[in-house]
Each structure stands twice: as structure tokens, then as C-alpha cells.
Symmetry: C2
Subunit: 312 residues, 2 copies
């Protein structure tokens, strides 16, 4: 279960299946090097096939990457939960069943919310997190499909991939060109593909977004409990999960650097894949990604405040 595949690409990596309790999870695992595997948690309605090879394959050159279809998605069995907490429970079951005791998490959009929940539920499991195009619990205007901007796109008769282009990229010619290149990269995988998500999946995930916007107690207080180094990333023109949610994350997470890209939307990581993967690889490889922070070695204790970080 801990072996790597010989072909480190999401274009060719075979889909594997892991049986845990009552469910079977579809996943792909490839690449190598580094210490901790990087577990990818996917966006709204996305499957294994929605991970851009330009991102997965570059990151797989320095570490093992594990792409994961959560319960009810793609060929994973079961029913899509209507809460982020429900999704996190399945992701935890999957990672535990792989025998992994510490991983990096790459949470994109909905997956970034699942990543935050995992870090809260089982902090010792999580070494670092990439939180891309996502929002904190209590965030704002998350996936408002009834907004004029999104309604226009969702109600259109565009084919799925063209709809994705409008959702993920900015209206400029340069962003649209990057989107076309992204779509072409996704299409490179010709076999062993996952079924496309239907409306029932979308409905459950939208319910999860609505629940995630709510909060009890002090807003964003939970973020202070996430002491892991985080790299927060988004495009400034995101129409699905507006950029201010990334600002909120980086202002309230005690140990997060924010990186935003111009001329781009929700898919900034695909549009700027060279810069993004360079930043992500540096962040994941460094013992002290935001030097002069000196991170604790060994056990991942949650500090009570940022005061435990030393200046070097």
C-alpha cells in the first residue's frame, strides 16, 4: 500500500480502489521523494480527472501525491454528505486506511474546507496545508449559485468544460487562453476516467457550502487552533469563492502566508501553474517555510498562541 507507481502523471496513473468499512474510495497515487505524501482534496463536483496534470505531475516530482474521490464522487461508493464535517470524516477514514500517520493536505475550494476540518479533527495527522480558492467556516458569499453572475453560467447550455472555463477563469483574453490550455490538459487523460458528477452531488455539496457559511460562537475562532503552516492562494477575480475569504483565512490563521494572482479567478493555480507549483514545492520542502519562523520538530503540538514561534 505504500509503493509508488512508476508513471508519475495524472494522465496515466491508474485509478485504485480502497475498501474501508462500508465504502470503496477511488484514488490515484504516484510520484515520490520527500517525506510526507500530499493528499489532494477536490473542488465542487470535481473528480480525480479534474486535477490538472501541470499541477499534480510537477508536485509529484518531489513527493508522493494522492488524489482522492471522496464518498459518493466518481467511482467512490456511498452518498455525498451535506456537511464539510461529513466529508472530512471520510477523508480521515481513507487516509488512516492507507496507514499514513502524517501528510500534507492540498485542499482546493470545497477541498480546502475539508482540509481545515481535518486539521481541527486530527491535528497530528496534518503537517502543512495548501488552501487554494477556499474559505473559512463563517466565510462570505461562498458559491452563491443564485447570484446573477453564477446563475448565468449555470443556466447556460454550455458544455461542462466550457462552463468550467467561465467559472474558473477571468474574462480577459489572457485568462481565457490559460483556461483553454487547462481544459486541453484535463482532456489528455483518455482512459480509466471517472464518471462526471450529477445534480444530486451538486445539491449535497451546495448544502455543505451553506452550512459552512454559518458559525457558532466567535467568528473564525477555530482558525486560531490550526497551527500548521498554511499557504493560502487564490486569484483576485474569483466569482465562486471571493478573494476576501482568502484574506479572512490569512488574517485569522496564525501561521499562514497568502499568495494572490492577478488577472485570474478560482483557477489561478492552473493559470499560473509554474509559479504556483514552485511556490507550493518550496513551501512543502522547507523546514521553515516562512523563515525566520522555527517550527517545532517531531510531534505536532498545537501552540496556544503564536508566541511559541521563535525568531532566528
Amino acid at each position: 500500500m505504500t509503493t509508488s507507481l512508476s508513471i508519475p502523471s495524472n494522465i496515466t496513473a491508474p485509478t485504485r480502489f480502497l475498501h474501508v468499512a462500508n465504502e470503496t474510495y477511488a484514488y490515484r497515487r504516484f510520484g515520490g521523494g520527500g517525506t510526507h505524501p500530499l493528499v489532494f482534496l477536490q473542488h465542487f463536483t470535481g473528480t480525480l480527472d479534474n486535477w490538472d496534470p501541470a499541477v499534480t505531475d510537477t508536485l509529484a516530482s518531489g513527493r508522493e501525491v494522492i488524489l482522492f474521490d471522496n464518498v459518493g464522487i466518481g467511482r467512490s461508493t456511498g452518498k455525498v454528505p451535506n456537511t464539510v464535517q461529513g466529508m472530512a470524516a471520510h477523508a480521515l477514514a481513507f487516509v488512516d486506511a492507507l496507514g499514513l500517520t502524517q501528510v500534507h493536505l492540498f485542499g482546493f475550494s470545497l477541498g480546502g474546507m475539508v482540509a481545515q476540518e481535518i486539521a481541527l479533527e486530527q491535528p497530528s495527522l496534518v503537517r502543512k496545508m495548501l488552501l487554494v480558492g477556499t474559505a473559512p467556516e463563517g466565510g462570505e458569499d461562498i458559491m452563491r449559485i443564485d447570484s446573477p453572475e453564477l446563475k448565468n453560467i449555470f443556466d447556460s447550455n454550455l458544455p461542462g468544460l466550457q462552463r468550467l472555463l467561465k467559472l474558473f477563469f477571468a474574462p480577459s483574453a489572457s485568462s481565457r487562453a490559460a483556461g483553454e490550455a487547462f481544459i486541453a490538459r484535463l482532456a489528455q487523460r483518455s482512459q480509466d476516467r471517472e464518471p462526471v458528477s450529477g445534480p444530486e452531488i451538486a445539491k449535497a455539496q451546495i448544502a455543505a457550502f451553506r452550512a459552512w457559511e454559518a458559525f457558532t460562537g466567535e467568528r473564525f475562532a477555530k482558525l486560531r487552533k490550526i497551527s500548521q503552516p498554511c499557504l493560502v492562494v487564490n486569484g483576485v477575480f474569483d466569482i465562486m469563492i471571493p478573494i476576501r475569504n482568502s484574506y479572512l483565512l490569512s488574517e485569522h490563521l496564525p501561521n499562514a502566508v497568502l499568495l494572490t494572482y492577478p488577472d485570474s479567478g478560482h483557477g489561478s493555480l492552473f493559470q499560473f501553474h509554474e509559479s504556483f507549483t514552485r511556490q507550493a514545492a518550496t513551501f512543502l520542502a522547507s523546514d521553515s517555510p516562512f523563515a525566520p519562523y522555527i517550527e517545532e520538530k517531531g510531534a505536532r503540538k498545537r501552540p496556544k498562541s503564536s508566541a511559541n514561534r521563535s525568531n532566528g
Copy 2:
């Protein structure tokens, strides 16, 4: 005039003087390598001696750096202008007199405003810009010295450097420790120091901040004319020029990446000097810092929109 000094450090680099028209400007020039020199534009009341050697010297290892006391600051003659435009005119006169035809600008705080103005006035001169702890014209809550938070600090009887520590760093123990280290680094220069700025300088610069908050016409429209790649940086807890000014810059500049640091204030570049200088050096060295942007080679034309950037 284009030779480098043999000792690439702001601890030891001699102060030089350049006579232009009716004024004499104090500056330091050291380091080497790379193509374009990096011209440093300083913060409110700061002099050549307020540039952290941990930042200047690291950046000087890959390119020539030029630190500059604008008119009326330190041993530079003349009267401090009460507008950013007035300061930019002197910076332009200085750079032109050095015979430089294209430079990178490193604008920190007030200096970042001067940098933006230079890019608008003489776009062909500016290759790339580091805009740290700064704000666009029309920005918000810039250096409100009458706010309770700042008034407490300015009215205190603290020695100048201890005041700087409170202004530039966050209240956490880790940020304060980074601030003490910064102060110690500034003190390493023991000779050939600049006179400390007095209240008349502060008064003129505060007037410039007030004028910079105003705008005519469409707010932030000028930013769209700044096509140069920009790296915008600040700490999320800046009490002098709040972080949302950096958000405004990165949302309205067509070609800007934003980088924010946790647990830090206005002095985030000093607190995280290792990360900051690594990011800055990568940004300055790359032909396409935000790949897959492909930048125009040769003459720096202002594009009409972001559409001239190609996806590679």
C-alpha cells in the same frame, strides 16, 4: 558612476553624494550582478540607516542596490515636499543623474507611493517594483497618527528605536523578538550615519499621506496604467498602513502578485527577511515572475489591458 563598491553591506557602505540642479542627494550604492539596479525608496521619516542589512545585503548579492535619501532627508539638502508627486520628481532627478535608464524599484511604505508615481510619470524607467507596506492613491486609513493606537505610541516617551519596534511589529512575543533583532541589525552601522528626521520632516510627509488618500476621477484607475510586474507585500497586522491597502493594490494593479505574512505588521519584510528576500530575488531575477505570463521584451510599452499577456 556605474562602479560597485567592494563591500556589499549597508553596515559599511560609505554614503555618497550626488549634486543635481540645486540639491545634493545622499545615497549608498553597493552589490552587483544581475541586469538592473534596485533603487530603494524609504518609509516615513526613515533614512539610509533605516534599511535593514538583512534585506539590503541579501538582495545586493544578486544585483546592485542603491539606497536613496530623498530631498530634505538625512544629509540630502532641500525641503521635504508635502506631496508624493514632489518626492517622485526628486527621485527621478536623482536616478536620471546617475545615468540609469531602467531600474527596479523597491518602495516601502511612503516609498511605495513614490514608486507608483515614478512608474506613472516615467514608465520606461521602471522594470519591476516591490511595493511593501504601502497603499494606492485613494487608499484607506494611511498613517492616521491621531488614531488611538498610533497616538499612544507617538505620544509615548519611548526612545526612537523602541517606538519603531511598536510601530513596525505585532504585539506577539515572536514578532517583538523579530523586532528586537531588527533594531540590533540597524545598530550595526556605527559610523557615517545619517541625522535622524525631526518633526518638520514628519509634518511634511504626513501632509503627503493625507493628499495621497484623496483622488479625483475613478478610484484606482491610475493603477491600471502600471503594467510592470509588481510584488505587493505586507504583514496582516499593519497598524500604520492597514493590509487592505495591499489588497486594493493587488486587485487593481493588472500585473501584481500579493504576498502577506502572518503574526507581523508594517515591518513584515524585516521579520521574515529570509522568506522576503528569497521571494524578492526570485521575482526580480525571473523573466516571467508569474509564469505563464510571457512579458514583452525590450521596450516597456504600456498595454491597454491585460490581454497582451500570453499564456505559455
